[in-house]
Subunit: 347 residues, 4 copies
Amino acid sequence: MKRATIVGATGFGGLGLIEILLRHPEFSIKQLIARKDVNIPVSNVFPHLKGLCDMRVDPAEKAGFDTDIAFFSTPDRAGMEIIDEYYKRNIPVIDFSGDFRFKTTQEYAAYATNKGIAENHLAPHVLSESVYGLPEKNRALLRTAKVAGNPGCFAITMILGLLPAMDEGIIESDIIICDGKTGVSGAGKNSGEANLYPQRYENISAYREGQHQHLVETENIINAKNNTDKKILFVPQIVPMTRGILVTIYADIKAGFDTKKIMGLYNDYYKGEPFVFITERSPGTADVRGSNRCLIKPIVDPRTGKLIVTAVTDNLVKGQSGNAVQTANIMMGFDETQALNTMALYP
Amino acid sequence: MKRATIVGATGFGGLGLIEILLRHPEFSIKQLIARKDVNIPVSNVFPHLKGLCDMRVDPAEKAGFDTDIAFFSTPDRAGMEIIDEYYKRNIPVIDFSGDFRFKTTQEYAAYATNKGIAENHLAPHVLSESVYGLPEKNRALLRTAKVAGNPGCFAITMILGLLPAMDEGIIESDIIICDGKTGVSGAGKNSGEANLYPQRYENISAYREGQHQHLVETENIINAKNNTDKKILFVPQIVPMTRGILVTIYADIKAGFDTKKIMGLYNDYYKGEPFVFITERSPGTADVRGSNRCLIKPIVDPRTGKLIVTAVTDNLVKGQSGNAVQTANIMMGFDETQALNTMALYP
Amino acid sequence: MKRATIVGATGFGGLGLIEILLRHPEFSIKQLIARKDVNIPVSNVFPHLKGLCDMRVDPAEKAGFDTDIAFFSTPDRAGMEIIDEYYKRNIPVIDFSGDFRFKTTQEYAAYATNKGIAENHLAPHVLSESVYGLPEKNRALLRTAKVAGNPGCFAITMILGLLPAMDEGIIESDIIICDGKTGVSGAGKNSGEANLYPQRYENISAYREGQHQHLVETENIINAKNNTDKKILFVPQIVPMTRGILVTIYADIKAGFDTKKIMGLYNDYYKGEPFVFITERSPGTADVRGSNRCLIKPIVDPRTGKLIVTAVTDNLVKGQSGNAVQTANIMMGFDETQALNTMALYP
Amino acid sequence: MKRATIVGATGFGGLGLIEILLRHPEFSIKQLIARKDVNIPVSNVFPHLKGLCDMRVDPAEKAGFDTDIAFFSTPDRAGMEIIDEYYKRNIPVIDFSGDFRFKTTQEYAAYATNKGIAENHLAPHVLSESVYGLPEKNRALLRTAKVAGNPGCFAITMILGLLPAMDEGIIESDIIICDGKTGVSGAGKNSGEANLYPQRYENISAYREGQHQHLVETENIINAKNNTDKKILFVPQIVPMTRGILVTIYADIKAGFDTKKIMGLYNDYYKGEPFVFITERSPGTADVRGSNRCLIKPIVDPRTGKLIVTAVTDNLVKGQSGNAVQTANIMMGFDETQALNTMALYP
């Protein structure tokens, strides 16, 4: 039984970790740490946890380090401030923000600019050793990683939708269009007036068109294998629902590909992946609600010859805490699917 | 490993059973039976099951009987037509409709009248041996039961909210008011035009005021212990959500009870119950979303002296398939909480 | 053309007034006043107003008094601080808070206690002259009123549902049970974390059981005619929708009343009322979405003999700004229905 | 006062017409015709109409022709069967389906293929005289038109978003990508099991990727002015809401355009249009809920140089009945904005 510490335990990310780790046969939760709502049971913050997890939430200054892994479900720039305490003790860390998704400070600065936060990195020595926490791409590297940067929810969905085509080198466009739709929970547990029920119901709108902070990591990963320089044009949109991401991807591909062939290519690429599935039916976010799955439908439009890929995830599971535990399973040498093979909640 | 057959596998009730039985360590699903969508994998009907349950759905005429238990997740009057095949083979049955919730044909007829269906019962010999499938009341009887009638979703929520006060004999009103609110899924997987998204969003309305079919069983159970004759005045309402029931109960109680005392009484009554919890915070249906829990808040209004009880369940879990598996666990001699201790999906 | 000033123009109440007054043939909006979002066009705050109302929002200190009527769509205790400036100039005022719903400081104090605000009243001389702004009850008084207290949204729905039975003296219970359900917009434009989309979707929960602040005014008005002393036991609940209130009322009535007779009584009582309709069909909040109507269904339950009344309103229209304009129409001597005869937005 | 007949009065389209025509100062409703729910008041079908419109719904065989205009809010192929009765009497007709959106039978056949309906046209002589009912493009032609084909809801939103750029000839891509999102009401009043509340909540999914039936008319109109041959790659998606369409458009444009310049171009193009507005803020469907407006935000992404246009409409108003009345106003010589200048319902 390995001990896990959750820093940032009282947000949606921390809650997702608690839910998964409680049913995990090889992890026990050692400590919950947060900034707000401290010194009370976490089940006071999330009443549905009562009787299932009544651990006290500790303030940051009470953080202990007798743990086997730490999850930082913290906002940007919180993780880089505290990472050294864990790093020097050789405690593996998985960070949920953008702090450790990049190898260089320049990439971090580009991310930070899009996000509108400070651009300097406070732990560049760790940055160079961190691994992007995407099992489908970096499984081998993660086995020995000390620090993993858990992908952004939109990023992971775009990347999984694009990897087979990119890694096979069949995309011809220099610019790939990704049209994203997300539920409101992606904005976190206290995201302000714009996300109140009356403001969000019956409303869909775009934001940060072309400038979302997940662009940098997405371009990094999809271009990695063939050292290409494709750009993503990404427009995110908020939809009146709580969980779920759908990304619709448009790109030119090499001549000779039709839907059957591209389906074959995607199926081959993800063969054996436990959580990525190719589907001939148009996937909906309801198909992955509460689950760690990503469903992908790649087709070639016969009228225009363009590749169209739709990919869905639950932004709080495969887009966040589920993927983090999958990564943790790899880092600790567990079966990668431990505690993650639950089914979507439907309806 | 005991074998379970699900009759009516392609409705929401059948799906709920599949979900729970798949994670159950002592049950394996033996056969799925339905009337529609037959001879295809159940994962064609519910795509989120792909890779988790791809069993073929068999038509009724292919029903085999090499099974250790059968769940009838079927509409009213379907179960009573086929029960004998199971009964004579000594296969325990749990039926989801009103077919086996009563001990007498008269009670069934009263139920049937409210529901607007035929009043004659086709298997009265079984009726007399059936047990109302409410573990919190009939645990001992269920241990040896052959046939259990799984409670209605509204009924179980009203009953759990009322049992402590009724069994302690402290309710004075002859008529107890129950104001019910339910999500739309209670109406099933194909409930018609009135429940389309545009018709249901931003809409709450009452139906069958005072005449809902769950009245008979509710009055039966709450009056059982003290042989009382209290009536329930029940007004159900449909709310724009998918899962969840909230019942608000109003009654006069004996002098001398305040909130503290009634809380104590309810806590004592449900002490040790694995799925019923008393809470001082007003419970919401989000607290039990996807879980087998029932949360209850009993208070005494100081201005009027009335008892107010609010109780919440997920109508598809504790209100349906979760309670059925809990009952099955008892009937088979398993740990009662097997496969049911999962937590609510929040948010 | 009479000039109207809106104080508190940037909340949902102020917005509702702008919407109605813009289509009103006898009112023009003279000034918009608010505390936040000042010195910008109101269409920057509510973009859907662009081109329809681009007036600048003025801060309170720029309030002019060259106006024929003032609507205070302000929080509790804001109106009583500024009323004198209008009162001494003989400018009629309609206030949306609890400030002027009562005739005595004692009643106000009882209201304030339930609401959790200071209990002293700052303008008792005005209080005694104010009229409760319910046209269906106080039409005659409102014709000459200088100050009207616009009813609370739950209060007006309960009162309209109860008035016929109360004024006819046929209710026998000392305690009347009102079970209320409301959409989230009742909590205002910035109501905090509990009302964010992820927290509110798929969730219904009660709050302030038995202690809601609308109790005092409701009891006042329903008891007025026959000088009775009935109490209301009111449990409000929040439902995952934006607009709409449904109140379900339970009471004992005199012998000899059945559904037909009570329907007749209610129809007679509201004969000629332009916005209150009796319906044999169970009314839904969708029937009144965006309209100034109140639909009421009174029945007598044959099993228990109890009166059951369901009543629906749009909490932002008949429950707030629509009723305020109806009252203003009366106070100014206009046709009472001016600008209010629009139909519900359906679906 | 001109008399209007509504054929197909009991669907969402017919209801939208009733709502607008009731407040129209120059139209009176002469007759309501439908196939289902006939010989009863329309307010029995839509209870919120009670007291506002209680006209009887007549079956088709009782259609009279003493009317000044007819709206066919009917499914595909219904209008072409009955058009001659109106055509030979010189009664202007506005049809809501694809029946009269095209000038040639070939175009109709292409539309019909995408829609999966019969390809032969039953009234080709009328087809050649019909005008595509888009005031912003065909205002002059509509003044003398006898038959107008009311645009598809997705089509009108795409077209309005593209016209300025297309008519100015600044789009360079041969293929323009349109990613569409729609509320559920677009599927009509009785759209089947897939659109029940439990199936649609918390769910977004694509359908008919690249093959939606609105493609033909969209390509027709945008290519008309400069006789170009641009293709639209259109992927529609259903979002858990009732009303509203958001289309996100991606295209390459001529060098030298930045956001400021493209905003200027769009503003100039729609100068004077009463219902199309350019906005610097990302528009949401809530901004147009229940209104006849279309809001458009055109920008140029500095990273990729691509044009990104987001456009929103209410699919039931500017996307259907509102646009039809706007067209009718033009055909009858009325002020084009009559009865249409209402504001969005917000929140």
